[in-house]
């Protein structure tokens, strides 16, 4: 398991290489990129900010969770912070397992958990203004003012 938060462009192959191993028959790679259009609104750029020590702990927690759910798994996650332009890579998740189904499922699990528990935020910059994302559709919102038991553990 390998996790990092970086302030420079992510080399995708480097992340993949961290999970390549002799007993892996499948490697899935998720690449999260900066999208230009969101619900008709044009993004010019994004700024990502992290609470780095806690974000690292939570990424490691996700690593423990996937190890508990899937046998024989390796995972590497790199998340970029700072200013990103359209089409820049914000996050790369590489997962290797002996068989493909586990690699797909574990990879999806990891990105969903990042969006739930890892303290990283993005600010969208538009022609008409800017806003921290987090209370719109598609991002985590603790409607009861607190996370569920599952979020905490």
């Amino acid at each position: 398991m390998s996790f990092e938060i970086v302030d420079h462009p992510i080399n995708i192959q480097t992340v993949i290489d961290k999970v390549i191993r002799r007993n892996a028959g499948a490697v899935t790679t998720f690449i999260g990129t900066v999208r230009e259009m969101t619900e008709g609104k044009k993004t010019l750029s994004l700024t990502y900010e992290a609470y780095i020590p806690m974000a690292m702990k939570k990424l490691e927690q996700i690593g423990e969770e996937v190890k508990g759910k899937w046998d024989d798994i390796e995972m590497a996650i790199s998340h970029r912070i700072g200013k990103l332009e359209i089409s820049d890579v914000a996050v790369v998740i590489a997962v290797s397992t002996p068989h493909r189904k586990d690699a797909y499922e574990a990879n999806q699990y990891a990105i969903e958990r990042i969006k739930e528990i890892v303290p990283i935020w993005k600010k969208e910059h538009w022609e008409t203004g800017e806003e921290w994302i987090g209370n719109q559709k598609g991002t985590k919102m603790y409607v009861n003012g607190k996370p569920s038991e599952e979020d905490l553990h």
Binding site: E49, K140, G145
Partner: protein, 77 residues
């Protein structure tokens, strides 16, 4: 002293990424009350709190030298 850390929109409202407050024991709810009183434009709706990098609840008690982070809804990935 208890260190309070702020991020994203909360940081912008407070105008600082960290402040320090008196270090006696108090609950997270009391710290939130202090912040809302001190910064009238602040909203903590949907904001989670982490004590020493672990998520915590309003009734949890914070002591001197703890670091309390205010975590707006996250949006990484």
């Amino acid at each position: 002293m208890i260190t309070l850390l702020f991020f994203a929109g909360v940081k912008e409202t407070i105008g600082s990424e960290a402040i320090r407050i008196d270090g006696k024991q108090q609950t997270i709810a009391q710290i939130k009350e202090y912040l809302l009183h001190t910064y009238p434009t602040l909203s903590l709706q949907g904001v989670m709190v982490a004590v020493n990098e672990e998520f915590a609840l309003d009734e949890d008690i914070v002591e001197g030298n703890d670091t309390v982070a205010f975590i707006p809804p996250v949006s990484g990935g």
